[in-house]
Subunit: 243 residues, 2 copies
């Protein structure tokens, strides 16, 4: 059975303006690979209802599971929850269980649960809350879409609590091999190797090190024995001492 | 008149598997912001023809200009040029001007222009080449799509030469100068030169050649006389015979 497929949607003008550099895609990519879920696509859109609705609907129909980050805070440009409700065609309002989480949080910190903060308890109908152990305000899951915060430490905590609920396939295994020759020299034999092992993914990543060109070849797949066989061929093609 | 809108497409399995963290989106986002172009969307897809074709066609119809990064190297998984040709419904083959660039490059380095490397001269019909001052192999522009390398230093050099054509300003002029000294030695004087000529863009692209470190310095701007003045200063700072 093939692995489940996933997509990620990052929401935020600050990423597209270059003010902030996204780190959530990279984090999620690594976690999904370890869990045996294939991340097939990532998108970044701005704080724009239309753009969020369109992207969510495209991604949730094309993939088994979708993760979003960003736009669930207290300010006027945090419009993700409302956009998700619209994408699913359901209502949205302040929900009691989410409000209680915020009340407890702000009672403990002595901050006021004002109208802005209460926006963070707006949850689309039919959604399940995702715990936020860092700062209280919950994320939520609706259908196959998991809506999480953009702040990396909160995003990571939410991913950690959502991921175990997602049925993963076989985790992706990989082996790397460093070849101290220019990529153009090894591309031909590598293409032949890739044709011979169509069930594996064979990637080549060039580097320069102290004046010398080389490439790290990464062989990925779910069958360790096949990876071992391809790696054995690769090391015979390009013995380490020959470089 | 509203700013032109842009989209970026990052191509590469290594980003979606979490092996590599993309930095090109963040770089382009900042450059576009400075240039008055609104980056509206970014997408990341794998080394998959179908996915590339679909994304390119969606983005190039929705936005004024599209930038891609990745998948234009010599190995079997570098399929971007062919996918772009398919997206535009045009043919693709090895083009003479691109082949000459590679021939010159490899003649200088003593490497063989084999069949794999020649893949990098495959250019869709009707495209214009984008110069690659770092490693030779060109990118290309076709319609409103600019196809560039994934290696960040090459991507950045290509963005620098493409961007001025997009802002709709005056055509960009450039002069290059090779300095056979490590980049760290020339960075200080170069920064002073850049401060003295704030109207010009002065880029440094390090290389290694037969064990020696050097840098190609590219001075870009719209005023040829100013570029000439800056180049005169540069050649006095680093005379060719001194190397």
């Amino acid at each position: 059975m093939p692995n489940p497929t996933a997509a990620m949607l990052v929401i935020g003008d600050e990423i597209l303006s270059g003010r902030t550099r996204d780190s959530n895609i990279h984090h999620l990519a690594g976690e999904l690979t370890r869990a045996g879920v294939d991340l097939k696509e990532a998108r970044i859109v701005g704080d724009d209802t239309e753009a969020i609705v369109d992207a969510v609907n495209a991604l949730r129909t094309a993939h088994d599971v979708v993760f979003t980050s960003g736009g669930i805070g207290p300010t006027h440009d945090d419009i993700t929850a409302d956009a998700i409700a619209r994408a699913f065609g359901v209502g949205i309002g302040v929900r009691d269980d989410a409000r209680r989480i915020l009340e407890d949080r702000y009672a403990n910190t002595g901050q006021e649960l004002n109208e802005s903060r209460l926006r963070m308890a707006r949850i689309p109908e039919g959604a399940e809350l995702i715990e936020n152990p860092v700062s209280g305000a919950p994320g939520f899951s609706i259908g196959n879409v998991h809506v999480m915060a953009g702040v990396p430490v909160v995003f990571q905590a939410m991913v950690a609590s959502v991921l175990p609920k997602i049925a993963g396939g076989r985790p992706l295994l990989s082996q790397s091999y460093r070849i101290d020759r220019p990529e153009g020299d090894i591309a031909g034999p590598l293409a032949e190797l890739a044709a011979e092992f169509p069930d594996l993914s064979i990637g080549s990543y060039p580097f320069q090190h102290q004046g010398a060109l080389g490439a790290n070849v990464v062989i990925r797949g779910t069958d360790g024995a096949r990876i071992g066989a391809a790696m054995a061929r690769l090391t015979r093609l390009f013995p380490q001492d020959e470089a």
